[in-house]
Amino acid sequence: MTTVVGSKRTRNYHLALIGVAVLILLMSLVRIVSGQDDITSSGTFSAALLLSVPIGLAGLGGLWAERAGVVNIGLEGMMVLGTWFAGWAGYQWGATAALVAGLIAGALGGLIHAIATVTFGVDHIISGVAINLLGPGVTRFLSEVLYKEGTAAGEAGAGITTSPALSSQPPQVSLPLFSSGPDWLGSLESTHWFLLSDLAGILRGVTHNVNVLVILAVLMLPLTFFVLWRTAFGLRLRSAGENPWAAESLGVNVYLIKYVAVVISGAFAGLGGVFLVFVTTKYVEGQTGGRGFIGLAAMIFGNWRPGGLAGGAALFGYADGLQLRSAGAVTSFLLFGGVLLVIYLGLKVRGMLSSDRPAALAARTAREYTLMAAAAAGAVVLIWLWMTVDRLPNEFVFITPHVLTLLVLLVASQRLRMPKADGVRYRRGEQH
């Protein structure tokens, strides 16, 4: 790429690094102020990693499909297929079989979506909804047939809503010296020093007893980036999402590309399902809990890019993980939100004071004032809540990722750029 593009990329990279640093600093501050050590404990981060992975995989599924121009809200249904088949193959033949079966089941779900949307030109949302109905239907049916009392699976501990436990689990690894053995990070974390212990906790969380499949899944992110942005195949795939008619006129088989993309998309969703099964060691009906949708949200949050998607998945996974570890710690995020709003206000005020525009024009809109007033009120309310509320009801914790997604969409939706022909019905030989 040229210098222009290159420098923009490095600038983004630096910005991201600074953002992460500020975030950790803030988390550390909030931990010290609130005394909730779980905010940056290795346990929380370990859980966060585990919970981010299925969201991230679903998000990657969405990314593959939408970059090729097919909206896939059927991810949830494909994920459900993945969980069931992982449970079914896993209890009989172990972890590897579970992985393969879940992958294939998800891919089959993707294939149905591809047939409906690509071959028959059904609206993508409608087909996705149908698949979300079909996924739970098929799995329930299979459970009723294969897991009912009196079957072999039934003896092994299956029920109508659960499979028997997996017969083997994938191995786990730790980073030697740092996270196991002497466990340097662990001892540093337990000192609870400002910032240092927080860093140690975060690092230990993502390096201690990590399932090898988690590592594999995380590697899918750079792999996806490489394939989509650095290979000829990726260029063709993205062209199908930006302008399929141009691609067609250059001899690219757009139908085939879309089929491949949507099947891979389903496979990723299925893989996400496999992970959920590994976490609970068996298939449980309804265990996806809408993660397919949250994955989609993470992808939109990440502006249809793998890096941003990873950020979104990490954020949602962290919210989940923290709530799992310590419901009390969650209230600290009220403080966190309050502090963020105060910082936003500070930046705004500074921007206004330093403005050298004529006064009549600088005070451009009442809108900005409304926004600032709302931010101030929000900050006050959040901090007041933090001081008075001991413990949030579980239900409010569950909805954190959803509320966050809505907020991000509200703030950033106009800056998001989805592939231009995303969700557009494409037929060979027909100009739009």
Partner: protein, 535 residues
């Protein structure tokens, strides 16, 4: 060159008896064309004559029902564009086939990517594109995003795309439709260089002056079949036109002036920001605010546009597409907010909704009838209601008056000669010309005081074109004020009473249509000539 070598040279492309049928119509019938290598061969015909279908066949996008295609002497059968590309045929489409969010380089290599191991060989591709661009004089920066490029640059990208695939035969489908005269000259220079490099160019057009300028041989198509092959040296534009149309040519000439003193529409200092509308801060006047915007260097889509249109006057706006025409229409229709004043028959309508403006008597023939003018998947009578849903005959209280709407649609079908099986037919079943006639009929009903006609005859056949021109002239004679926006300079010059040129959101010149040439108009449109002249 002696007779032996001439006989030995195979034609680059030879079409024999090509026939293609679509449900209910024959698009191509017994087409015969021979294109000699190393020439620019023009294929001319009016809109709807079957040129595009023919090119799609030659490029493998459609299969002919009958006939043979020979390329360099060998018979070929194309199933997909890839097959055509493999035989060395490349196509530059009329509507650019580019992914806006991709770089020039990515657009060029797509589908024929150089690889280095597993990855895309970006460096190698860039070197090759630069080398090609150098050799044929087609300069573009390979790393810019296509969405940042102008029309001429985009066309060069399209040509490079074709050359990159090693094409020796280039098909250019109406390449000058989107260009101004100066850009056309540049394109022709490029084409001459390509020809000098031994390439064959098939040039599709209905602009006869251009064809006579560039072509070495001309084939005329009329009603789906080849009617003549002529040498540009011994044919006039007039003769060519008659071959093309097969009868007398319609002209867009307006006769005597019907302009009255009564101002119908007055627009003053209309200004629109590119970054979205922001209200003027309290206490500041609009002029001060707009001045400050200019001082800050903000991009303005419309910049102080002022004009007035009288009853019985057609005011034409000439300009290269994307210089603010669409924004001007949107501002007048109330679809997009802008600063400045608009008044209709003396009433200030700047704060009115689109609906209220329509009810007050503004009619609108949109620039893109499929996008803005029709409900394609609805019946004709429902399309008649569109835009008139609050007025009789379409409305009765809160209800849609179906019977009256159907009857009035029937009136339009008859008066405007819309060829349709019935008023219940879906709009998309109609041909472009009939759709447009329906729209014109609709916008003329309800006795409008002011009509915006944007590209009123784009993509319609000659018959419909003449009919639409007649309707516009009749309405003008009856006292209608018309704002005419068109890319067809002949249409503009022929119909308008007054002509303005828009360039980068400003009206840069006011011209008298009776003594302006397309060349001079083009000069203003591209900013090559500056300065206003009053007439």
């Amino acid at each position: 060159m002696n007779a032996d070598t001439v006989a030995a040279v195979q034609p680059a492309v030879q079409l024999e008896g090509i026939t293609k049928r679509f449900p209910g119509v024959v698009a191509n019938h017994d087409i015969r064309i021979t294109v000699e290598p190393g020439t620019v061969h023009a294929i001319v015909g009016e809109n709807g004559a079957g040129k595009s279908t023919l090119m799609k066949i030659l490029y493998g996008m459609q299969k002919p029902d009958e006939g043979t295609i020979r390329v360099n002497g060998a018979e070929v059968s194309f199933r997909t564009p890839s097959d055509a590309i493999a035989t060395g045929i490349g196509m530059v489409h009329q509507h650019f086939m580019l992914a806006d969010n991709f770089t020039v380089l990515e657009n060029i290599v797509l589908g024929a990517e150089p690889r280095k191991g597993l990855t895309l060989d970006v460096g190698g591709a860039r070197a090759r594109v630069n080398e090609l661009a150098e050799r044929h004089g087609l300069r573009v920066d390979p790393d810019r995003l296509v969405e940042d490029l102008g029309v001429g640059d985009r066309q060069r990208v399209e040509i490079l795309k074709v050359l990159y695939r090693g094409a020796r035969i280039l098909i250019l489908d109406e390449p000058t439709a989107v260009l101004v005269p100066q850009e056309v000259d540049e394109l022709f220079d490029n084409l001459r260089e390509l020809k000098a490099g031994g390439l064959t160019v098939i040039f599709i057009s209905h602009k006869l002056d251009e064809v006579l300028d560039i072509a070495d041989a001309i084939t005329v198509i009329r009603r789906g079949t080849t009617v003549a092959s002529v040498d540009p040296g011994d044919v006039t534009a007039r003769r060519l036109a008659e071959l093309m149309v097969g009868s007398e040519l319609p002209t867009p000439e307006t006769r005597e002036s019907t302009v009255t003193d009564a101002v119908m529409l007055q627009v003053s200092a209309l200004t629109m920001e590119a970054e979205g509308y922001r209200p003027v801060p309290k206490g500041a006047s609009v002029e001060l605010y707009v001045d400050s915007l200019r001082a800050e260097g903000r991009r303005l889509l419309l910049d102080g546009v002022s004009f007035e249109i009288h009853q019985g006057e057609i005011l034409g706006i000439a300009g290269v597409e994307g210089n603010g025409q669409s924004e001007l229409i949107e501002a007048i229709m109330g679809m997009r907010l802008a600063h400045g004043d608009i008044s209709l028959g003396g009433a200030d309508i700047a704060s009115w909704s689109t609906l209220r403006r329509r009810e007050a008597g503004i009619g609108y023939i949109p620039e893109d009838r499929h996008r803005q003018g029709l409900l394609l998947e609805a019946s004709l009578w429902e399309n008649r209601v569109l835009g008139h849903q609050t007025r009789p005959p379409a409305r009765r209280g809160i209800w849609v008056n179906r019977r009256a709407a159907k009857a009035d649609t029937q009136r339009i079908v008859q008066d405007y000669d819309v060829r349709t099986p019935g008023v219940d037919t879906l709009a998309l079943a109609l041909s472009g010309g009939n759709q447009q006639k329906l729209i014109v009929g609709r916008e003329m009903s309800g006795e409008p005081k002011f009509l915006i006609a944007a590209h009123p005859t784009r993509g319609v056949d000659v018959g419909a074109q003449a009919a639409i021109w007649d309707h516009l002239r009749d309405a003008r004679a009856a006292g209608l004020a018309v704002l005419l926006i068109s890319a067809d300079l002949d249409e503009l010059i022929g119909l308008s009473d007054t002509l303005h040129v828009i360039y980068r959101g400003r009206l840069v010149a006011r011209l008298d249509p009776s003594d302006v040439t397309p060349e001079r108009l083009g000069g203003y449109m591209t900013g090559a000539i500056t300065g206003t002249e009053e007439t």
